[in-house]
């Protein structure tokens, strides 16, 4: 780092952090302190940085394609990788230079299928059938996807909004629509409505400067008291007719922050839970995650987390809001699979700054986990990468997704140069890390902004977009925290389409693997006496070997016994879940297993 005058105070001494920092000088592989986190002291480098992993195995690494990076400046923002969307055997890897389409038929060996050159940042992507949606926010972005920029302050060539490509011919994507918005599109969310199969909707979150009215009629960046039609304090909703995507257009601009008195800057004034603690002006959302199974959406909206009822997707209605004194910038949201928890991230510093140092408060730039009861979000706990990073590694909470292990809330999350962290937040007040992967800094003498933008679970593997280094694929490995049965159960959940901000509800097929996953959890948390769990494991194994009616009878008997176990078990819910799973197995013909 350069010689910026710094006042390095240990603001919030924490035992864990303090312990970690004492090991900073310890070289990698130092066996003298067995408890040292292997992420401490990793050697830096662009392509040869040292790596540390626990319970996570890197099975493939693919650098950026030729021409999609600068060899002399690997961290150049113009070529950053950003977010991902998944369809079938393809991952659509968005970025500041365009979209890479990788074939992941063999996850251990991804191959580049096509490239779509189209700069404009951040390159947030979604996919639906033959359509690809791509966000552009920068003033350099052009309608024609050119790289030369749009230098005029008012330009007819500029594009800021959401592009729609037809990818029916994946090798020759065709831009069929480009919907301009006042603030561009920082992120967007694909919204599907089962009652409206002819259309999909896009919620556009714009966060940057409002462009002049002269460039796009009606755009105003003035405060609401001066202009009630301001482009601030709203999101844009685009309707995309699937039969005629070229007719896509903005059909609503919901004012999500309006208060009971009708003021559109209703949340910015501070009339939520704690008016003292607004750190970011709530005039826009950064990202919105919808959970169609419950017709809910969670908006991470700068100064607040909000909950939306999206039964009418064109008119989302705010039903709850929350603030947090530790949050600087509400960035993204993820639901637990049962919808009873919402995890929000705080992207303190915007992602380009090192916020995981020993001096950084472990509740700042972290995840905040809320439980959801009715329409109320209750603060429960925080999770922050449990290891310090150097001041040449940008690090803060970023994008991730649920790993569908039945009976548990497990998430894989990107922390920029802090690496990948897999953690359990079943107990919302006490999240625990269960796996990680980390590389040393891109450059140990200076901060280059790179690292993991997103890490998502998709059909059995974890995919990570390293902004500077490329695409990574991981396998989760069993450990004391997670059994092979639990991993195998997660792998039973298959998706043909995955847009992470359109969160699917995991549903597991009836399977002995799922039953054994529950049983493993009961053994781990001593939810039933160990003598009993041994017998249940034996009976489950015997039943599996049986056929036809004998198997069904054995399973029904076991389910009935488990029902009785549940009544006196210390982990009743889980024993009951196991009983239900076994009963379901008993109702399934053996031949189909």
């Amino acid at each position: 780092m350069t010689s910026v005058p710094t006042i390095r105070r240990l603001l919030f001494p924490v035992a864990l952090v303090a312990m970690a920092t004492t090991n900073t000088v310890g070289a990698q592989g130092d066996t003298s302190s067995a408890k040292a986190d292997p992420r401490i002291g990793l050697r830096g480098g662009w392509n040869d940085a040292a790596e540390a992993a626990r319970n996570l195995q890197l099975i493939a690494h693919r650098p950026k394609p030729e021409g999609w990076f600068r060899a002399d400046s690997m961290g150049d923002i113009n070529y950053w990788n950003s977010d991902m969307a998944f369809k079938g055997n393809y991952v659509f890897l968005g970025g500041y230079y365009g979209v890479q389409i990788w074939d992941i038929s063999n996850a251990a060996s991804p191959t580049l299928r096509a490239k779509l050159l189209c700069p404009g940042g951040q390159g947030d992507v979604s996919v639906y059938r033959n359509l690809l949606f791509l966000s552009a926010q920068e003033t350099r972005a052009r309608i024609d996807c050119g790289t030369q920029g749009a230098p005029d302050t008012v330009s007819a060539e500029r594009f800021r909004g959401v592009r729609i490509f037809d990818i029916g011919d994946m090798d020759h994507p065709k831009q069929v629509a480009a919907v301009q918005t006042c603030r561009g599109s920082h992120t967007h969310t694909l919204v599907t409505d089962p009652k409206d199969p002819a259309n999909v909707y896009i919620y556009v979150s714009g966060t940057s400067v409002v462009r002049p009215d002269a460039e796009l009629a009606g755009c105003s960046g003035r405060p609401p008291e001066e202009d009630p039609n301001t482009a601030l304090f709203r999101i844009d909703v685009i309707r995309v007719p699937l039969a005629r995507p070229q007719d896509a257009r903005i059909i609503a601009n919901p004012r999500l922050f309006t208060d009971s008195a009708g003021a559109i800057a209703g949340l910015a004034k501070g009339d939520t839970l704690d008016k003292e603690h607004h750190h970011s002006e709530t005039s826009r959302c950064h990202d919105i995650t919808i959970y169609p199974a419950l017709s809910l959406a969670a908006g991470a909206c700068a100064g607040n987390g909000i909950l939306l009822d999206i039964r009418d997707p064109v008119n989302p209605k705010r039903i709850a809001e929350v603030s947090d004194p530790n949050f600087s910038f509400w960035h993204s949201a993820t639901f637990s699979n049962d919808g009873r928890k919402v995890l929000f991230t705080d992207e303190w510093g915007g992602g380009g700054l090192p916020k995981c140092r020993a001096t950084d408060n472990p509740k700042w730039g972290a995840d905040a986990i809320f439980t959801l009861t009715g329409k109320t979000l209750n603060p429960a706990g925080y999770y922050k990468l449990p290891v310090v990073q150097t001041d040449t590694e940008n690090c803060v909470a970023h994008n991730g997704s649920i790993i569908p292990v039945p009976g548990r809330d497990i998430m894989v999350q990107a922390w920029y140069q802090g690496g990948v962290s897999v953690f359990d937040f079943t107990d919302a007040s006490h999240p625990v890390e269960i796996a990680f992967f980390d590389r040393g800094p891109a450059d140990s003498t200076s901060l280059f902004v790179v690292g993991y933008w997103s890490t998502y679970w998709y059909n059995g593997h974890i995919y990570g977009t390293e902004m500077g280094r490329g695409l990574d694929v991981f396998d989760l490995k069993p450990s004391e925290y997670l059994s092979q049965n639990e991993i195998d159960a997660a792998k039973l959940v298959h998706a043909d389409l995955f847009n992470p901000q359109n969160q699917p509800k995991a549903v597991w097929p009836a399977s002995f693997v799922v039953a054994r996953a529950y049983l493993d959890q009961l053994m781990r948390d001593k939810g039933i006496p160990s003598a009993r769990s041994t017998v249940v494991a034996r009976d489950l194994g015997r039943a599996e070997k049986m056929k036809g009616a004998a198997r069904r009878t054995a399973l029904k008997q076991l389910a009935a016994q488990l029902d009785r176990d549940a009544r006196r078990a210390s982990d009743k819910t889980r024993v009951q879940a196991l009983a239900d799973e076994v009963r379901q197995l008993g109702g399934v013909k053996a031949a189909s297993n």
């Binding site: 006042i7 350099r140 501070g270 002006e281 700068a302």
Partner: protein, 195 residues
């Protein structure tokens, strides 16, 4: 509020250097070039942020409010990190970075003419002399004006042909804009809630 001819000349020279080195420093045709206005913005914002640090450093010994103390800590960490990021941008684009240490010894009165919202030497002294509730109120008023100046700098940047086209410039200016807006809201709330 006097302008320093010496300082104005130095800035003009920096802008000239930026203009003349533009074509050689930027040979990548796959993206739009950065401009003198971008360089000037980064250099100016470093100076601007540096004064916010000077102001924030007064808080622990002058305030009577815990919330202001926490707020000042956040400003301190955030602005130090942003200054480092701006210096990295200037260095990686082979542009001169103004000397931070020299800036601290400079007369604040001369900087005031350069960047919107900055305090004069007299105002800084006034702030430094205040204590307790009087300091709190003055600090918030001055810092709100200071932050509003940063917003002016951002809007001037985007109102300049060719400026803000560099992706990193765009990202940085957008983030400054949203951060400072947020902190202004927070400070207004603190002003309204003063005991």
């Amino acid at each position: 509020m006097k302008a320093s001819p010496c300082r104005a000349a130095a800035v003009a020279l920096l802008a000239l250097i930026a203009l003349t080195t533009k074509s050689t420093a930027q040979t990548d045709t796959r993206r739009p070039p950065f401009t003198a206005a971008d360089v000037h913005f980064m250099q100016g914002m470093i100076t601007h942020h540096a004064q916010a640090l000077v102001m924030a450093a007064l808080v622990p010994t002058h305030t009577s409010r815990d919330d202001l103390l926490l707020f000042a800590k956040r400003i301190e960490v955030s602005q130090q990190d942003e200054i480092a990021a701006m210096r990295r941008w200037l260095e990686s684009h082979h542009q001169p970075v103004e000397d931070m240490d020299a800036m601290h010894h400079d007369s604040a009165g001369t900087m005031e003419m350069l960047m919107p919202g900055m305090l004069t030497a007299h105002q800084l002294a006034q702030l430094s002399a205040a204590q307790g509730p009087a300091f709190d109120e003055l600090f918030l008023q001055f810092m709100i004006r200071h932050h509003e100046g940063a917003l002016t700098m951002v809007s001037r940047l985007f109102a300049t042909t060719g400026a803000g086209q560099d992706a990193e410039m765009f990202r940085f200016a957008s983030e400054i804009e949203s951060d400072q807006r947020a902190e202004i809201m927070r400070m207004r709330a603190m002003l309204a809630a003063r005991p």
